[in-house]
Symmetry: C2
Subunit: 348 residues, 2 copies
């Protein structure tokens, strides 16, 4: 019998995995994500949100838009270990994909935002991301763009509609359209048994028998989707000690502990979705792992204390590739103009 | 009689202005720009070029695409004085708009590229723009993206189609679709006499009587469009000394002289198009002038030694606004994926 690695969390928590695992069942991604009662999706709001999502004027110097780090022309990420914000500043964590983020019950790696609306309010004011000095500064800038003023009024039906909250609502409404359907896995689950290859099905078995689906469960492979809004699904990462922990600096960032300062949250993370994971390299909160096969090896070892064979790893990777869905067509927005002067032209 | 400012160029060159001025006639922008015999436009090439234009993987660290500085969701520029490249580095000149660049007979502010194809080969290798180390490095990166390999082969019909030259050809083909038509001015010239306001027509008169059209002539308001490819239309800027020269640092950058080292090219610049100029603030090669009205004042004084009244300036601005055309709808590209690893993920 091989030597077990040092368990980094309590056995009670480990047992919880098994309980969740039993509840696992194949599920296609729902067609439409949930939306909050106070922010119903409308076509005009989605269009406004799309413009805002692509608008670099949400950053102090006009160089960074939401799409800079969450590129919906590709993976919904920037495929960098960590992102680059204004003035060439580097972020501390890897940008999660925006695809299907609408199905998560908490946002950010550490779950510190309850909703897409809350999340969207973070980056513009983050000094190393978009660097705007205040909500008011964002509102003033948007208010000086006639095309935005008009749309905010029409969409929100208020006289003073250009507010930071409404900006976030519009962006969130756009993000709720960023859903990937009809992955080979979804087609398979819906009855097309040819949609997944034999190797993908072998990988699915490795994934399930190893216990990956203890945490990466549910239609979004990110844990239960029916949790109350704002209640994230968290796990310790790493759970078991191994050489990977040091090599990939897995414990340097304290994760959710940085938000709550609760001892039990040390190195806890919101379980990320595995949908489209084949597109979102590099991997983990710090982007330290370059390839999907190595990410599978690291997860098996640090979370399940299992050494997978090369064949098992290869099969699992092919299974994970079957979670890549069809990304919807998006028409390119036309950003509302200013004429005769620039809002970012004289910003240093 | 008011005191004439010091003339900064020879009177022979000044007289040339008058000759050109006489040849001026109203012209709508042609529907299609010229294309080189060795790079015919095809739909598949335009689609490939669009993907490349939006692909940040043309930059060393995956943060800068052509569109970062030539944003076709808006003005075709970044509306900054100077652009930001990789690692937060600042460029030395203001990014010109890509809209209608296809009508220019030489590219870059100093005309150092003869064609759009030549121009497109500059920024990827510029260390302060996209920072790729060599043409070969770009080719290797593109060759590792299966979706590009396939498209390059189909578009160029060659076995080893993923070349730096072909990349530039595809981007240039896309750029030849970036034409703005049906500005109020174009509609007016084509017979719709209601298309321009009275104020715009007054501004047109100021523009013509002052001699702005000595240089900003032709359908593209950038000088003769029938010059041979590569032969730019250059003028000294500034021509007359004035307070503006110092305030806006107009002579610090030597312009075309930096390319040719010919004394006569000192502070010479390719005459930029005025189409969509209302959208492209801030102004001039160094982006030093924040507003269009001030740009009009500066040009009148430094190029024509004229002090325009506030009314004349306002009228001219309204005329220039009538040069803002309709930008065509562009469908959003889907950038070809890599799976399981990132090409920029581990780049520092």
């Amino acid at each position: 019998m091989k030597k077990r690695s040092k368990l980094l969390l309590s056995s009670a928590a480990a047992l919880l995995f098994v309980g969740i695992s039993n509840a696992y069942a194949d599920e296609a991604l729902p067609k439409v994500p949930p939306e909050p009662a106070d922010n119903p999706t409308t076509a005009a709001k989605v269009e406004l949100g799309k413009q805002l999502f692509f608008d670099p004027r949400l950053s102090i110097d006009g160089t960074v838009s939401c799409n800079s780090c969450h590129n919906v022309m590709s993976s919904g990420t920037d495929n960098r270990a960590t992102s680059v914000g204004v003035d060439g500043q580097r972020g501390g964590r890897s940008a999660p994909t925006v695809w299907n983020a609408a199905f998560l019950t908490a946002q950010f790696w550490d779950g510190r935002a309850a909703t897409l609306e809350d999340q969207a309010k973070g980056p513009p004011l983050n000094p190393i991301e978009m660097g705007m000095p205040s909500e008011k500064a964002v509102e003033e800038r948007l208010s000086s763009i006639p095309g935005y003023v008009e749309q905010f009024k029409a969409v929100f039906g208020e006289e003073d509609a250009v507010t930071y909250d409404n900006m976030a609502k519009a962006i969130a409404a756009f993000e709720r359209t960023l859903i990937t359907h009809d992955s080979p896995y979804d087609l398979y689950v819906q009855g097309n048994k040819q949609a997944m290859s034999e190797q993908a099905l072998r990988g699915k078995e490795v994934f399930e028998k190893s216990g990956c689906n203890s945490c990466h469960s549910g239609a979004n492979f990110a844990g239960p989707t029916e949790l109350p809004t704002g209640q994230g699904f968290y796990q310790h990462f790493p759970t078991y000690d191994s050489k990977h922990v040091k090599i990939y600096h897995l414990t340097e960032d304290k994760g959710r502990y940085e938000v709550t300062k609760a001892k039990d949250d040390m190195n806890k993370w919101r379980v990320p979705s595995l949908r489209n994971v084949a597109l979102t390299a590099p991997y983990f909160h710090n982007g330290s792992v370059a390839t999907l096969d190595e990410a599978v090896r690291v997860m098996a070892k640090t979370q399940l204390d299992k050494e997978l064979s090369d064949q098992q790893v290869a099969d699992t990777v092919v299974f994970l590739e079957s979670l890549t869905g069809e990304r919807p067509e998006i028409s390119m927005p036309r950003l509302p103009d200013t004429t005769g002067s620039s809002l970012v032209g004289t910003v240093k």
